[in-house]
Amino acid sequence: MKGRAAAWLDRMGRWALAGIFLYAAIPKILDPLGFAEDIGHYALVPDAAVNTLAVVLPWIEAVAALALLTGFAAEGALLTVNGLLLLFLVALGQAWIRGLDIDCGCFGHSRNGASVLLALLRDLGFLALGLAAMAVRMHRMRLQSSR
């Protein structure tokens, strides 16, 4: 892959991920109580930690999305979103295995959200995009350092 193509793919990948994460973060920032309920339904973290997680997690998503959008600390932002997607995959996977009939809370609190299985498959797609974006970024950095 040549330098210009790598730069274009890098930018497109980062912007797509930034859009997804901003779209996911904003409703959760605006309704922390709803998001806390959604986290609580996963029964994965101690109840006392649920509110803190609901307050902090959407902001980490938003900060990472802004970094992806601007290109500032892009490698760290790609690592962060891939880490978050892995975390969500584990949460959704255990909910699916346990047969929990819950709203995924992925894009904010909704009583008619996607099923856990659908959210799991969607998350896998996002993770594939995230890993591809990271691979392109590393390739681009290698190209730059070899010049």
Partner: protein
């Protein structure tokens, strides 16, 4: 790679601080300490324990609502509970509503732990004009009742 890890730590720290600051300044802010009980309180609902459920049921003017599906209800429910499924609220509510009239307290339960349907039903009842003071959620739900080895009843709602 090392640079990426340092950047990740910086971004996570920045997000955490921004979240905590926004929460402290926002009117929608959540209390960081406290769990489900605090969240229910924020929605104007109160949580009752198994002992309280048993106490209120003994008073006679309390109605117990099972927010699970009719199939789950049929397999086993708390004796005396009426089935008002969250997923099928609108069609079932008119059948249950006459029995809710005059109740001093309505306690809603579901499958405990990870289920949120009892809260959903309680919120829908508030939207229908029921006062928050007359509504409570039994968060331990049916598993909490079964853990105490209390009797169950099966069969569908008449």
């Amino acid at each position: 790679m090392r640079r990426g890890i340092f950047q990740t730590i910086g971004l996570v720290t920045a997000g955490t601080l921004a979240g905590l600051l926004f929460n402290a300044l926002s009117p929608m802010g959540l209390p960081l300490r406290g769990g489900k009980e605090v969240r229910l309180e924020q929605k104007g609902l109160r949580m009752v324990s198994l002992e309280e459920v048993r106490f209120y049921l003994d008073q006679g003017d309390t109605v117990l609502l099972d927010a699970r599906s009719p199939e789950e209800y049929e397999l086993g429910h708390i004796p005396g509970a009426l089935n008002l499924p969250a997923d099928n609220f609108e069609p079932v509510y008119p059948k249950v509503a006459p029995k809710l009239k005059g109740a001093a307290l309505i306690i809603v339960y579901c499958g405990g732990g990870s289920c949120g349907t009892s809260e959903e039903v309680a919120e829908k009842l508030i939207e229908r004009g029921y006062k928050d003071a007359s509504l409570a959620v039994f968060a331990d739900g049916l598993p909490g009742w079964m853990r105490a080895k209390l009797p169950l009843r099966n069969g569908s709602q008449e």
